[in-house]
Each structure stands twice: as structure tokens, then as C-alpha cells.
Symmetry: C2
Subunit: 161 residues, 2 copies
Amino acid sequence: MTHAELQNLIDRSLFADLGYIGGDGRPAIRRVFCVWHRGPGRHLISTNTSSRHVKLLSEHPEACLYFADSETFEGVCLTGRAVPTRDRALRELLWNNGDEKYYPLGVDDPDYCVIEFTADAAEYYRYDGKGALDAEALTRLSAGKAWENGYARHNGSNSSK
Amino acid sequence: MTHAELQNLIDRSLFADLGYIGGDGRPAIRRVFCVWHRGPGRHLISTNTSSRHVKLLSEHPEACLYFADSETFEGVCLTGRAVPTRDRALRELLWNNGDEKYYPLGVDDPDYCVIEFTADAAEYYRYDGKGALDAEALTRLSAGKAWENGYARHNGSNSSK
């Protein structure tokens, strides 16, 4: 699996699975909408500030983010830190028309926040083998890249979102 | 979401996401084929004995198993123990014609094993709300049930597999 094929798996995904440590200290998973990326190692997820996983990640940011395609039998597990942020530029970037139905007060709704995930390790597999990326490789693959909606790009949308 | 709707989500799934503690002590995820169930809280997964997650679970069985449907926006995260076993009856139960391509020595191939997942807690969500099940409720919902291939049942197959 080449780096381009790995990026393609990430870009064509609408969702990823966020793995974190639950309230009982045991592993927990939540499926999240995840289409904004900077290379294979950096990802943005918009969510509710009041969500339980946001509270838990604030206390324990060590997490993983898993992109997989069951039909092609390929997947990548990124390990790193998932940090909830209220950075306004990121909130604006991820805001979509219609999000008012989730966040009635708009971009500045206190319940609207973004989780910034930064990987320092990755393990990927496909039917034809597996591989790994270390922190240095992940940093290099994200270097010089701006945040991009990979799903929109993959699907040929002209919209920036 | 009723208990029947929760069971339906599990039964119609071919795959689940297994969350466990990786080699670095941080959360890790792997997508697994998971169609054998006893109610919502007990599940079987066949896998390679030599897999890294089998080794890690042998040392640290605390894990979660996540069934989700992105299209209907529903999911359930089961928390409990994932225990690799070489129990022959379970290996026979999960064996399918053609598995020789993965395990050339057949049911007794030393690389063929089964992970038995037993939940003691569950959290589920759907667009219309969320809920939880405790260990007592999970035990009650599995009581008197035999192992069943929920996917085959859901899809109306006459095969026991």
C-alpha cells in the first residue's frame, strides 16, 4: 500500500472511528464524521462540547483514529493525541450551511467545538500486506499542506467544503 | 431504541470494531468479522493466533466492541473482556468452507483461534436518543440463548453459518 493509496483511503472516508479511554479506564469507541485532513496524520472532527468523549479527551488525550473500508479490506490505525479546541478559525473552517440545526447559536455556539487529532504513529493493512509510519514520516507527509476537505476533493466537488 | 432494535443493529452487521490497549499502552482499533452472537452482550470473532491483537488481548483483555451503522446513525459500544480461546467447539462452530485458504491445516490449524467477547456494559445511541445496559441486563438478554449467526438469520439464510 503506497502513501498515495493510504491517503486515498482517508480521503474517500466520510467517517472514522475514534478510540479513547472511557470513564471506567477501559477502551471506548465512537464513530465520528471526519473529512478534514492535512496529510495522513492530522485530522479535524467537529462535535458537541458537551459530549462525554470531549470531557474524557480533555482529561486523557491519548487516542487513536481508525479509517477502514470493509469492502476492500484495508484500514489504518493512527495513534496520537485528540485535543478538543475552541479555536475560532477551525470552527469556521468546519462550519457547514445547515449546522444551525445542531448548534442554534451558530459558529460561536458554546456547544460547538473541534477535536484536533495529531498522530505520531500509524499502522495500516490491506489484503496485500501491512506497513507502518513513524512520527517523522507522518510529519513529513503533512509538511506544507493546508487543511483540506479530502472527501470533497475525492468526490470532485468544487466547494471548499 | 428498543432491545430488539439494538439486536437488529448487531445482527445485520458483518463487521465490528474491536478496541483494545495497544503495545504502547494507548487505545488501538481493529475491524473484525463478527457475526456470531448470544444476545447483545456475547460475541465470537475468529482470527489468527499469531495476530498482534491476540497477543495484546492475552495480556490485557479489557476491550470494547463497537457495532455501528453510519447510514442510519446508530451505534452501540460494548465494554468487557475479549479473551482468545482455542476451544475446539467454538473453532468448529465458526469454521466455514473455504477457510483453508487462511488456515491450511483446517480447524486444528494452530494459527486459527477464536476471541470470545463478553460485555458487562453497553452504551448505545441513535438519532432519537441514547441508552445504556448494565451487566445484569446484558446477562438477562443473553440468558437461554445459544450461539447464533445473526447475519445469516437476518438475511434469511437457511445455513447454520
